[in-house]
């Protein structure tokens, strides 16, 4: 199957997940928020649906791996130090900015939220700039 078709199917599945969560539980399927609400200090009181969602996220590929022997997940493309830096920035950025690609990108845009549309434009811009610098300026 063409990679773009696979990509679109993946997106459709994400969309179905977001619609289901809103229809059934009345919530935004924003992963940074769902995960963030599980964390100290002051974790959100509504833990069970968050845990269920995260278990689903990990459980589906884990099931695939159990059944087929392969989770079909690629390896990280950068080394450990960079993964630490990137992880910290993603954690800080999504907490500060109240969302990520699922919360702002999928759900926020679908709600026509000006905050989300702006957030997406900003993180796309800095993402593109970062890859430009690391690949073409530094040559990493």
């Amino acid at each position: 199957m063409h990679p773009f078709v696979l990509a679109a199917i993946g997106g459709v599945l994400i969309g179905i997940s977001a619609v289901l969560l809103m229809m059934l539980s009345g919530r935004i399927a924003g992963i940074s928020g769902i995960v963030g609400g599980l964390l100290p200090p002051a974790p959100a009181p509504d833990r069970s649906w968050r845990l269920a969602f995260v278990l689903g996220l990990i459980g589906a590929p884990a099931l695939l791996r159990a059944v087929t022997g392969d989770a079909h997940i690629g390896a990280p493309t950068v080394g450990m130090p960079m993964l630490v830096v990137a992880g910290l920035l993603v954690g800080i950025g999504t907490a500060l900015g109240s969302g990520c690609t699922s919360g702002h990108g999928i759900c926020g845009i679908s709600r026509l939220s000006p905050r989300s549309i702006i957030a997406v434009l900003v993180f796309m811009a800095t993402g593109i700039a970062t890859v430009f610098v690391t690949r073409h300026v530094i040559g990493a």
């Binding site: 773009f4 969309g15 619609v19 997940i73 954690g91």
Partner: protein
Amino acid sequence: MIQGFLDIAGAWNPALIFVMAGGVAVTFLGYRFLVPKSRPLWASNFVLPKATRIDAPLLAGAAIFGIGWGLAGYCPGPAVVSLASGRTGVFVFVLSMLAGMMLVRWMRGASRASMSLRAAEEKL
């Protein structure tokens, strides 16, 4: 796939556009036509973001997130999903991400506490 999409000056891979398009199309239509207006089916009420202002934390946070995303190609969802692969690097990323989130949450809590302390002091 992510860094391929973000590499507009190099080997550009537009696949992420198809992910976003598929996702937004379904979510937009589903939110509009499938989600009940009064209340969700299994919960008593909707829990939706109340903020409307485009403020500094939103802009700064998005900018910082984008840098992290460009550096390793992971955002929170795919990172959590990738834990199923068992790869050490994914755990390193996710633990760092949780640390970053907790740092911001802790600082927010500290700033709220000092604000309510000041508000209480002003009342006295």
